[in-house]
Amino acid sequence: MSVSPPKIAIEFNDRVVRQFMLAAIFWGAVGMLVGVFIAAELNFWQLNAGVSWLTFSRLRPLHTNAVIFALVGNMMFAGIYYSTQRLVKARLASDFLSALHFWGWQLIIVGAAVTLPFGFTRGKEYAELIWPINIAVAFIWVVFAVNFFWTLARRREPSLYVAIWFYIATILTVAMLYIVNHLSLPTSWTHSYPLFGGVQDALVQWWYGHNAVAFFLTTPILGIMYYFVPKAAERPVYSYRLSVIHFWSLVFVYIWAGPHHLLNTALPGWLQTLGMTFSLMLWAPSWGGMLNGLLTLRGAWDRLRTDPVLKFFAAGVTFYGMATFEGPLLAIKSVNALAHYTDWIIGHVHSGALGWNGFMAAGMFYWLLPRLWNKPLHSTALANLHFWLGLVGILFYIGAMWASGITQGYMLNATSEGGTVLTYPNFLETLATIRPLMLFRVLGGALYFTGWLLLAYNVWQTLRGAQAVNGSIEVYADEAHAAERPLGLGGTILNPPVVFSTLGTLFVCAWLFGNEFVSLAGVLGAMIVCVLAYAHFQTRRFRWSGWYDRLLVSAAPFAILTFIAVAAGGLIQIVPTILVQQAENVEDRIQVPYTPLELAGRDLYVRDGCYLCHSQMIRTLLPDVLRYGDYSRLGESIYDHPFQWGSKRTGPDLAREGGKYPNNWHFIHLRDPRATSAGSNMPAFPWLYDHATDVAALPRKLAVQRQLGVPYPAWTDAQIQANVAAQAKAIAEDLRTAGAYIAPDREIVALIAYLQKLGKSTPVAPKRDEGK
């Protein structure tokens, strides 16, 4: 007579899920409110009330960090922790780590909210937080990783569902991206310079920036899609096999797309083409995921009429498809020549952020709410209203930005008389044209924000009198925890797929980077490896499939291989760029290092976020050259830590601003932009005239710049002070002769010194590269 094995109950830790969910809703409201406010400021510059911490350029980083790290971050953690426990049939490994993760993350968000508006910034987009907070982020991310992988190690379900693969890729890749792009040398507790400068910094920044989109805003939400859409639709994913292809192709291709943010700039041409091509290829895996998500709703389409959860999920996945078609389109160089620096890019970002991230979050929250608190949703009608308000808001937003971006792009690029003159030489003429469209953006954002407030209200009303519940399951006590025959290190590396992939990659690298003989050997080797791999697969396919079966249940090897897949793109793009940036490779010009006063002025430019509206990169395009001067060379920004190429032209490019206007013009312009530029929407910066430049910080800053490779002499503190005083005095005297009276130690003097240096460079005789 057989005895049934005993069963044990596992209760999931859903407390941390509830915490992250409520935090996401709260911070989402904060982030969206800031977004609506700064959008309004672009039409009504007076809204900052003359206060520095309410100015657009100080608040924009707060908006982006809040919606990315606070809203999507908290939402992602809620979804990952809820789904992972159930998919692996194990409670989260450590309640302590879960609590540390939650409270640590909220503390980081509060730190960001307190520092960013007051100008404590690294000056790099989505990487603005000062270095002590960076360390906190890295620490909390490690806590998250340990908690997650420890839970996987304790799992009772040997097979790793596709959502888990996406979470693994997210955790590993975000760690790699974040650490590399935040490598800095501190100059004080609240300031640092990034290790990379100029074109290197540009590439690292957008390798990080686009992959923040990829691995923070996309892959974890795809994992969430693969769990919650089947749950809500009560049917399995459309094609599990498609999800296999989707995952591997996405994580490999995404990493290469970063250079599409730098098209037509001083970035080396081969990198631009690489980024463009991989961005185009990315369309396929992205739509694979979109189709998989949408077609999961087969047989459940009628429920869209009444179920707000499915409405949000269906619309969210559709916006994902839209954004991942628009992205590759924008990554084509000729399209990018029109769109870069315009509102079209903003529209693209927000179709993904509001449509994909925001709607997937809302759908997940409405699904989780009654299950985490064992009480029906307070009002389905309000949830449906949220959907429609949000949808209309998104359509207003992106429609306005498409029209605005394309209009401004065409106007700025328009030439007459055989392409010899600009049709619209005055930048402000284009701004005046798009202003009404910018107002529609405010309306769209406000509608979306209102919908989010309805969610918050609905949640609040549902929670009143509700009791929290944790999910639980019963499992047999003797079920194996981990896989049978787990893969060791040898099994991870010495197997046909990895060996052939590695050999093929090495041969392709030899083809790319070797001289004639090595390059030829690389081509032949790559072809031979492909043929051998195919032959081996055909004759020994059981070894390939047997290995992959074991990989699926071996979390550590799976993680290692995923990490290698994502690291390859970064290494191949970044390492050659670092090696290549030597003095002889700076084309025909090299930047003249800033004087101490100019460096102080540049740090004020970064502090006040001027780079958010003004670019410093004249592209290799005729309209750019006609409007701003000779195109920017790679060497002209080589000493800029961080780089200032910019990503948006709400105002004109400043790459060759130095010497264009007298000192007095800048003095008047920064105090009252409309006095020099009628119709400008730039806010006034009155605090620059009241505060003294922080000269005491300069010795430490210059020492760090020297460490980073900027050729400063080893000045003493006294020499630095004297240098600053002499240059400041000269500028102040020049301003006085023009009728502007200011003490030389004011910040405006330092900023004018910096602005007048822009575009100054020394000619360099290009070194002939023999033998290639």
């Binding site: 097979s159 769990y227 096999r241 296999v244 192709s249 299950r371 944790n470 399951i473 790319l512 992959y548």
Partner: protein, 68 residues
């Protein structure tokens, strides 16, 4: 260096790799199967009320049982 052969070559290598993975998936013997894995999210669970104070085991809810 000409980037078109480069990007075409890399794309073809990638395509071949993932095609190989997909074809291999078709016939493998597995600890699991795509059909089984696809059903993992749909497993049932029982919600347990979280006690308001620390006073013993959590009580099973009497309604909304076997929630999906």
């Amino acid at each position: 260096m000409s980037v078109i052969p480069l990007t075409l070559g890399l794309s073809l290598v990638l395509v071949g790799l993932f095609l190989g993975c997909f074809l291999r998936e078709q016939k493998r013997s597995r600890l699991s199967s795509p059909e089984r894995d696809a059903l993992l999210p749909l497993a049932e669970e029982k919600p347990r009320v979280v006690p308001r104070r620390r006073s013993g085991a959590a009580a099973q809810v009497t309604s909304n049982n076997d929630r999906k």
